[in-house]
Subunit: 137 residues, 4 copies
């Protein structure tokens, strides 16, 4: 599945979708150590502005890494940087599509810049940003 | 433990440390879906430039979220953005310290900008970047 | 965050809260090996006196360890003993507060006795007991 | 497998053994929220008196719950209380045997008291204590 920079054009896209569940959030809280009540305390979270527990922003953002590392450019990619803007909360059970789109191709340096977007099942953008990667050689 | 912006000054810092293990990486691969061979295929990873399986960059970066959501500003924080530069690979068993330091304080908008750094047990910076958050009110 | 005995008084308290979920119970069943149908068999559990699957008592009790090891006395604490009385069942989705309160301080032996209580979202005590610990030096 | 009190005598015993691993400890840290550096930070733990990361005491103690809920008295048991004395640290990779032995039988109240002991692969007692349970009817 891996793609070298010769096979990649500006405008190429790839996606990955997942329904993010309570189980995902709880595991993520465990491995990251982020036991913020916004994610694991329903009583406190109901009092907050989101009305209940929400998914960690970095968990949703991780789906971007999945697209980059598995599909475009795919296995062998080296992740150099990622900018993230968290635009809306993700609730338990939301189905998120992470999409990457090549916006800049630097063949001599073997680098790509990609627009990275996470969208929920209602078409709302929940994360915006961009990635910079080295495709496999 | 939560801290409103009135109690926070430029220069304030907080940290969280964890030894990142194979178990963490495999769980993260499961919940993110990022089954890139760099993380879960020892045979392929040994052929690559890092000489073995490495930790997902977004997993290491998640420790930053832990510091923001649990310590500074702590519970009730809303995460608005994060920029990440992945500087060096993190190997299984590395002990990572995530550190945040307040660099800008916008009291009227209730926003903080923080320098975010992840460092390994040898003092090498593995991730650099900055976060923007809204502290709890 | 750690606190030596010099900084701790009788009457000091600390808490940790978490909504305990099916995901927590199933992971705990896996790592402990406690596959008692009361926890993982909805058909059998519905026939029992609690009307459904309940959280392992030792999982709820583990939140006490979290307060002791992370907040009071915090990192470096050595856990010497724990007495537990399981007073009421904890159902999936209950939000539990674990609270510790210092009831006895033995400075020369560097030991503390703490009253340990787990309470659900309705204010009902689900676990009572006491801990004995050595604070960090 | 379940046993009512009529079928149980003082002196009856049951055991469960498991090798407790880094993976178990990391999952337990996640679900309990107990991210004490003694368990998840190799660099800090090496400086402490145990020379490295150790297993959460409550995780080792959970093996007692396994014996009670699965073997003696087995499914349907209601756990009423547990006293624990943590005698020695448990290191990653230690193989622990949890053993319960009936020491008192109160047929009219349908209660049992059991001596509960956790021993490592070298025969050292790591946890001592006693449990009180209601066997299934």
């Amino acid at each position: 599945m891996k793609r070298t920079i010769d096979t990649i054009q500006v405008g190429d896209t790839a996606t990955f979708q997942k329904t993010l569940t309570e189980s995902d959030v709880y595991l993520f809280a465990g491995i990251s150590g982020d036991q913020n009540p916004a994610h694991i305390n329903q009583v406190e979270a109901e009092k907050g502005i989101f009305g209940g527990r929400i998914v960690h922003g970095m968990l949703t953002a991780s789906l971007i890494s999945t697209v980059l590392g598995m599909y475009l450019p795919g296995p062998g990619t080296i992740y150099l940087g990622q900018d993230l803007k968290f635009k809306k909360p993700v609730h338990f059970g939301d189905t998120i599509e992470a999409k990457v789109e090549v916006t800049e191709r630097m063949a001599e340096k073997n680098r790509l810049i990609l627009k990275t977007t996470c969208t929920n099942q209602n078409g709302e953008v929940v994360i915006e940003g961009q990635a910079i990667v080295m495709p496999p050689k």
